[in-house]
């Protein structure tokens, strides 16, 4: 992440069109990750809740964009108050001129605000996978609005906006802590409050569409180049190193996960390939500007194997992390963040060296502070928010709706029309344009 230094008018750097083009395109790539995530998750649920799963991600594109415009960007990135939160000068994105630049990067503040917005959108969306099949759409919408406000915007400030973790020297290049540990820990906090799906561990809850999952994983992988390389802000050698490291770690994690499950469970599964790739992307996110390409292989393999093992924990400890947000994002984020303390070469984006490069254990300790402070804050605050929403409006749908299917109850739609016979029936005329008979019914 670029240093949050404000350069005022006097000797401001000039706009750099190359960097600006790179950042704008990276922003678009990161935007595509949220629909990608929607498909990744949507394919993993049963037919009856496929649309709800898509909508839980899509609504984040709506809600978070408005909050970001209103106060999110300002709270996260406008200066610093006590290391905890930004300021209020950029409320409503006012007082930002088109040519105002973000620090010394030569990119407009608006480009940086757009780029960071896409991170703020996907982070709450990541949480949705743990809550599959069972939460009210309105309650979810209220949750992500509150969560972004009291968890994501402050944590983004701590890590990237000049807050206390940034000052402490925690390395989180593209969001292992602020995005993945944060979302995974939030998922854990919420599911401990709202509980398990009806039939957890009893009913088969097979993914309804593995092709959706693969499509989603592919879109995530593609968009992640914007997420990681774009986080350099400037189109340079570090961005290029980050780009290749991202690819290497993802490939290694996919293979690591596949080998683990072949040995443990007997098959190379498509879900394993997709999950391994995402685990690798998560783990390389904080570490992509710290490790060498060979180090990226280590990050990937370790993350792939550990996450493949971690997704089984929910059955042992009996918590319903439905689509393994904790097992992949929280665990993968922890792995990637801590490995910086071991594998940082000091020669890529930062001059910090890890244990294996003669840097001692100092950075490992710093990383651990970053990991566990964000993890603890997010678990606790998310659990409190979930409890409050549950008390005020009820977080979960009634059991009979959960069993019959949340798509029809919450969205009045179904994902697929399986049967020509089932598609007949009566089309109700839109209000006001119906026949005399249907008007009579309306009246």
């Amino acid at each position: 992440m670029a240093p949050a230094i404000f350069t005022l008018a006097a000797d401001a750097p000039k706009l750099d069109s190359g960097n600006t083009a790179f950042l704008l395109l990276s922003s678009a790539l990161v935007m595509l990750m949220t629909p990608g995530l929607a498909f990744f998750y949507g394919g993993m649920v049963r037919v009856k809740s496929a649309l709800n799963m898509l909508m839980m991600s899509f609504i984040s594109l709506g809600i978070i964009t408005l909050l970001w415009t209103g106060y999110g960007f300002s709270f996260a990135f406008d200066g610093d108050h006590g290391g905890f939160i930004g300021g209020t000068d950029w409320l409503g994105l006012r007082d930002i001129a088109p040519d105002d630049l973000w620090g010394a990067t030569g990119t407009p503040i608006f480009a940086f605000a757009a780029f960071q917005l896409m991170f703020a959108i996907i982070t709450p969306a990541l949480i949705s996978g743990a809550l599959a099949d069972r939460v009210k759409f309105v309650a979810w919408s209220v949750f992500i609005a509150l969560w972004a406000t009291v968890v994501y915007f402050p944590v983004a400030h701590w890590v990237w906006g000049g807050g206390w973790l940034m000052k402490k020297g925690v390395i989180d290049f593209a969001g292992g802590t602020a995005v993945h540990i944060n979302a995974g820990a939030a998922a854990l906090g919420v599911i401990l409050v709202i509980g398990k799906r009806v039939g957890f561990k009893r009913d088969p809850m097979r993914p309804h569409s593995m092709p959706w999952v693969m499509l989603g994983a592919g879109l995530l992988w593609f968009g992640w180049f914007g997420f990681n390389a774009g986080s350099e802000i400037t189109a340079d050698g570090v961005a290029s190193t980050v780009f290749i490291n991202t690819q290497i770690a993802t490939a290694a994690a996919m293979i690591g996960w596949l080998l683990y499950e072949r040995i443990r469970h007997g098959s190379f599964t498509t879900l394993g390939a997709a999950s391994g790739a995402v685990a690798g992307l998560v783990a390389i996110t904080p570490s992509c500007a710290s490790v060498s390409p060979l180090g990226a292989i280590a990050v990937g393999v370790i993350a792939g194997v550990i996450c493949a093992a971690a997704v089984g924990l929910k059955y042992r400890f009996n918590y319903d992390d439905s689509l393994d947000v904790v097992g992949v994002h929280m665990v993968g984020g922890i792995v990637g963040s801590l490995l910086i303390g071991l594998l940082a070469t000091g020669g890529v984006g930062q001059d910090v060296k890890g244990v294996f490069y003669g840097g001692g254990w100092h950075q490992f300790g710093v990383q651990a502070v970053g990991v566990f402070s964000v993890l603890g804050y997010s678990v606790v605050v998310s659990a409190i928010l979930a409890k409050a929403i549950d008390l005020v409006m009820g977080f979960r749908v009634p059991e009979e709706i959960e069993v019959s299917g949340i798509d029809q109850a919450e969205h009045a739609e179904t994902a697929y029309d399986f049967s020509g016979i089932g598609s007949t029936g009566h089309a109700a005329a839109p209000a006001g344009v119906g026949t005399a008979a249907s008007k009579k019914v309306d009246a």
């Binding site: 097979r206 007997g266 879900l271 997704v311």
Partner: protein, 112 residues
């Protein structure tokens, strides 16, 4: 008349259709079905969690024939459906009282 019903592996449909056509059968009805016999279902693994899928996809083929053709036709279907592996399915027949061709109103064997 007899109603021959075969519940068999889906990928044998083309062979069965060809064998029936060669035998002189002019019409049949095919529906997708699911079920299990001695082979039971199969196991799928998602992120390490095993799911037993006990109903496996089958097709159900129904053909109306004259009594005199029934036994021979059953043999034709069985031969075309057989792979020799577990899960090949079943073929059976039932007596039929009446059949009517809707377009013409013909009844009995004339309707076939």
């Amino acid at each position: 008349m007899k109603l021959i019903t075969a519940v068999v592996k889906p990928h044998r449909l083309d062979e069965i259709k060809e064998a029936l056509q060669a035998f002189g059968v002019h019409g049949l009805t095919v529906t997708e079905a699911s079920g299990y016999g001695r082979q039971r279902g199969h196991t799928e693994v998602y992120r390490g969690a095993e799911y037993t899928v006990d109903l496996v996809p089958k097709i159900r083929i129904e053909v109306l024939v004259e009594d005199s053709d029934a036994d021979q036709l059953i043999d034709v279907v069985v031969k075309a459906a057989r792979t020799g592996k577990i899960g090949d399915g079943k073929v059976w027949s039932l007596p039929v009282d009446t059949a009517v061709r809707v377009r013409t109103g013909e009844r009995g064997p004339d309707a076939l």
